[in-house]
């Protein structure tokens, strides 16, 4: 009969209305700043730079190769490599800026980085009062320790670390083979 | 809970409402129509019981509620409701039996495609009958009476695709109409004489002493009292409706309708209407009874008509082969008994027999319907037989009904009501001929009912259809069981104390029944039963075409009775012939005398037209043509003023208005 559907619908909303008071499990939202939904491991947004040791700037994995700068679709990465007094390019970034306001979290920079130096973060509360100062992140803000990376993406970080140690071991082996004639001293100290 | 008299109209109104619902329901709404009809009947039954409680609170009182229907200027036509034990008992009976018949119809008419129409008509029928019962005015009674006639016409002709059914419906309608003419005349005369048609109106009603005395003392030139004449005219109506002697011919033919209709007509409603009418106006019928210097008394006529009908019906029933037809003639016979009872002055006995008869005759008809339904509409009892085994419930209940009708002593209600009638006939001081007629009819009744049961239920099935018969569903058997129980239990109304008689007519003194008469009637019943068993029960026929033992013994008489005493042929030879002759005469008059005159006038007109045309063509038309050419040319000039420009029109109107006002002001025209 006409009208039964309406009554059924009214019953559904009434049930939800009353139930939302008695059954907190019904509520689909949480009170955000106080409570947070645990973020899944594979959640990702905005890149950060991985560093190895205690000194964030000195131990960055980044070698300022500028591959990510070239590949970034919205062109939000700006890199200037550091040079020594002679003007020779050192394998370190002097400036590494990401305009978070422009970044679209596509992860292409991570995909292309050969050194596993840039990774995706899980931090999303980046609101700021000034978009020019607050949202243009410099390398100091971007640098985060490898332990943080291991914390937020444990599985992925373990794989990366295993790969890196394997590579280092291979390199060390090659070097020790080559080091017989000429032991290399310029190589940076192995990562911790 | 009691029902006060001004709400009495609810009882007929409920079935009428159900009829309206049934009429408005499309043929798909079977459940709605049937449930409305049955619910209305059940509700009417409950209300009737309430009314009965109210009526029995003071059995002598005639509770009335009168109101003005419309004002004629010189007087008002008034209608009203009447509640006394007679009304109440009739209401209870009609609604109770009606309910059971309705329920039975659910099963019986289950496969009919016009199911809703059927229930509509049934409800109309019941409503009309209840209208007769509750009416306090002969006028309203007459209206309901005619409605009953209409409904019976519709129901008898329900299967109008069958020519016999259509003919039977027509026959029933026309035959009862002949009687109704008498009723109408009597009613008009009564109104002329008394100026009112209300039965009871606080002393002014036609059935109250003042009116009765006035009607009785005035006599006609032939010596009849006015009351006698009016009574006999009204009795004509009852004769037609109740199938009494000269006008009984429609009743057996009415069997063409569906069996529940037969049950309703024969048990509860239509035929009971006539008896009820006479019982209702009994004071009027009786008014001349104590005047010995009158040539004839109304009640005497009634008694003799009843006696003749009782005997005749029983005689014809002996020689019929169709189950329903046997029952139909038994109804004619029993109605004769009732009329006889009224005629000998005991309307109470008549009503008692009417009530008991309603139950056991409904039972018999529904039982017959059950048999017919089971045997695939085989109605000829020669072709049935051996049904007692497969249809046990039907057989047992039918046997109860048969014994009640035959008047088997003590246990069955029919016995007591028949005894009451025979006693009344015995006590009648005018003549004992009705008593002898009645006693003969008692023997014959027992005889033909035994035959009916024996032929139908015993022996072996004598046709394929009968062989396949099996018991019907509960919706059909339960009403049978209830009715059978009632047929037995109604004995309690008369025995051990005549309770019903007291309630209906407290003044009536019932003399202790003559024991010898009772013994005589018991012997006669036993004789009838024994003869029937001897002729039919003992020597069961083996096949359908075997000759009837009675026909073998008395072939001429049997043939005469089987042809229903040639009444139809007699009427066809006399009244039919006469009306045919009259029709031929009227046809001849029409065709040659009046037709010739009309033709002559037409010829004259034709000639005149010819002359006129010649004159027109040459003289007038030319002138008209010239004038219309002028008008056209003027119109063409004028039509240029119609520019189609609305603004122009509006402007002219405005200017015209200004000019008009200026004229008025300047000219000083006020």
């Amino acid at each position: 009969m006409l009208g039964t559907g309406i009554i059924k619908g009214l019953a559904v909303t009434a049930k939800n209305f009353v139930g939302s008071f008695y059954d907190p499990a019904r509520l689909v939202t949480v009170e955000y700043p106080e409570k947070q939904i645990p973020i899944p491991e594979n959640y990702r947004n905005f890149p950060f730079l991985v560093h190895e040791g205690d000194d964030p700037i000195a131990t960055l994995r980044c070698v300022a190769c500028k591959i990510c700068e070239n590949e970034c679709p919205p062109q939000c990465i700006y890199i200037v490599a550091e040079r020594d007094e002679k003007g020779k390019v050192l394998k370190k970034p002097k400036i590494f800026d990401i305009d978070i306001a422009v970044c679209m979290s596509c992860q292409i920079c991570v995909e292309v980085c050969p050194f596993d130096a840039i990774k995706m973060d899980q931090h999303f509360e980046i609101a700021a009062g000034n978009r020019f100062e607050g949202l243009l992140l410099h390398r100091e803000q971007l640098a985060k320790p490898n332990s943080y990376y291991q914390k937020i993406h444990p599985t992925e970080a373990a794989e990366v670390d295993a790969m890196l140690t394997a590579m280092k071991a291979r390199q060390a082996a090659e070097k020790s083979a080559k080091a017989k004639p000429a032991p290399a001293t310029q190589t940076p100290p192995p990562a911790a | 809970m009691t029902l006060s008299v001004q709400h009495l109209w609810l009882i007929p109104a409920l079935p009428l409402l159900a009829a309206a619902i049934g009429a408005l329901t499309p043929s798909g709404g079977r459940t709605l129509a049937a449930s409305a009809a049955i619910a209305a009947m059940v509700a009417a039954f409950v209300l009737s019981c309430c009314a009965l409680v109210a009526a029995l609170a003071d059995p002598t009182a005639n509770l009335t509620y009168n109101f003005t229907w419309f004002d004629l200027g010189t007087g008002a036509v008034r209608l009203g409701w009447l509640l006394n034990p007679l009304t109440a008992f009739m209401c209870v009976m009609v609604t109770f039996v009606g309910t059971l018949i309705f329920v039975f119809s659910l099963g019986y008419m289950h496969d009919d495609e016009n199911f809703t129409r059927f229930f509509c008509f049934l409800s109309l029928f019941a409503a009309a009958m209840l209208g007769i019962v509750v009416s306090n005015s002969l006028l309203f009674l007459f209206v309901s009476w005619e409605l009953v006639g209409l409904a019976s016409y519709l129901l008898i002709g329900f299967w109008f695709q069958k020519p016999e059914a259509a003919a039977a419906a027509k026959k029933a309608f026309i035959t009862t109409r002949i009687g109704d003419l008498g009723l109408l005349l009597g009613m008009v005369w009564l109104y002329h004489a008394r100026g009112t048609l209300l039965f009871f109106d606080g002393g002014a009603g036609v059935l109250e002493p003042a009116s009765l005395t006035a009607l009785m003392v005035s006599t006609l030139s032939c010596g009849l009292a006015v009351s006698t004449a009016i009574s006999l005219l009204i009795f004509c109506g009852a004769v037609g409706k109740s199938g009494q002697f000269p006008l009984h011919v429609w009743l057996p033919d009415a069997m063409e309708g569906p069996t529940p209709v037969s049950a309703l007509i024969h048990a509860a409603t239509m035929v009971a209407a006539g008896v009820f009418l006479i019982a209702r106006i009994y004071p009027l019928m009786e008014a001349d009874y104590h005047h010995h210097n009158l040539p004839i008394h109304a009640l005497t006529v009634v008694a003799f008509i009843g006696a003749i009908t009782a005997l005749m019906g029983a005689l014809i029933a002996v020689a019929q082969n169709d189950i329903k037809r046997v029952l139909a003639f038994s109804t004619v016979s029993q109605l004769g008994f009732m009329m006889l009872a009224i005629g000998v002055g005991s309307w109470v006995a008549a009503i008692f027999h009417l009530l008991t008869h309603a139950f056991f005759k409904a039972l018999l008809f529904l039982g017959a319907g059950s048999v017919i339904h089971a045997a695939h509409h085989e109605q000829d009892m020669r072709k049935l037989g051996g049904l007692s085994g497969p249809m046990r419930v039907t057989f047992l209940t039918f046997a109860v009904g048969m014994m009640a009708l035959a008047g088997v002593p003590f246990l069955f209600s029919g016995f007591w009501s028949k005894e009451a009638i025979l006693h009344a006939a015995h006590a009648w001081d005018v003549s004992h001929i009705p008593l002898y007629f009645g006693l003969t009819a008692v023997v014959l009744t027992a005889f033909y009912m035994t035959r009916l049961v024996a032929e139908t239920f015993f022996g072996k099935p004598r046709s394929h259809a009968a062989g396949l018969a099996h018991e019907n569903p509960a919706v059909m058997t339960v009403p049978l069981v209830i009715l059978a129980a009632c047929a037995i239990l109604l004995s309690l109304l008369a025995w051990p104390t005549p309770w019903l008689q007291h309630q209906l007519d407290p003044q009536a003194h019932t003399e202790p029944g003559g024991l010898s008469l009772m013994m005589l009637s018991i012997v006669l019943v036993a004789l009838g039963l024994g003869a029937g068993w001897a002729l039919y029960g003992r020597l069961l026929r083996t096949n359908a075409s075997a000759p009837d033992p009675l026909a073998a013994a008395l072939p001429r008489l049997h043939a005469f009775l089987a042809a229903r005493m040639m009444f139809d042929e007699l009427y066809a030879a006399t009244f039919g012939r006469l009306s045919n002759g009259l029709a031929a005469l009227a046809d001849g008059l029409d065709r040659y005398v009046w037709g010739g005159l009309v033709n002559l006038v037409a010829r004259l007109g034709q000639f005149g037209g010819l002359v006129n045309r010649e004159a027109d063509e040459d003289g007038l038309n030319a002138g008209f043509d010239a004038v219309s050419r002028k008008v056209r040319s003027v119109g063409q000039i004028y039509s240029r003023a119609q520019t189609g420009e609305t603004h122009g029109y509006l402007r002219v109107i405005a200017l015209g208005f200004v000019v008009l006002v200026l004229l008025v002001m300047l000219g000083g025209v006020r």
């Binding site: - | 119609q642 189609g644 509006l650």
Partner: protein, 103 residues
């Protein structure tokens, strides 16, 4: 000049504005509205006379106006339906173009 005359003058002014509008405008809707205004002017008269001149029945003037309003509503509905029909027919509603039926 008494108040009644003032009322009558107002209503006749309204009537004439309606008339002038109906005569001078070409848009059918406005012509209809002009006629509607003339009806209203008549209603003003009824009320004015009802207010200042007692009728044998106290409600006569008011009842006149009620009926007039009802009929005016019906007239507006039919008239605007006609306008739409005209528009469908000739793709504009200029009254002077609607001369299909001229003689």
């Amino acid at each position: 000049m008494n108040t009644l005359q003032l009322c009558l003058l107002i209503s006749s002014a309204l009537f004439c504005i309606g008339l002038a509008g109906a005569l001078s405008r070409t848009n059918t809707i406005l012509v209809l509205l002009g006629i509607e205004l003339m009806l209203n002017a008549a209603n003003l008269n009824f009320i004015a006379f009802w207010r200042f001149n007692p009728a044998p029945l106290p409600a006569t003037g008011v009842i006149f106006v009620i009926f007039a309003i009802a009929v005016a509503a019906a007239e507006a509905a039919v008239g605007l339906a006609l306008v739409i029909a005209i528009y469908r027919h000739q793709q504009n509603i200029r009254l002077q173009d609607a001369t299909r039926l001229k003689g």
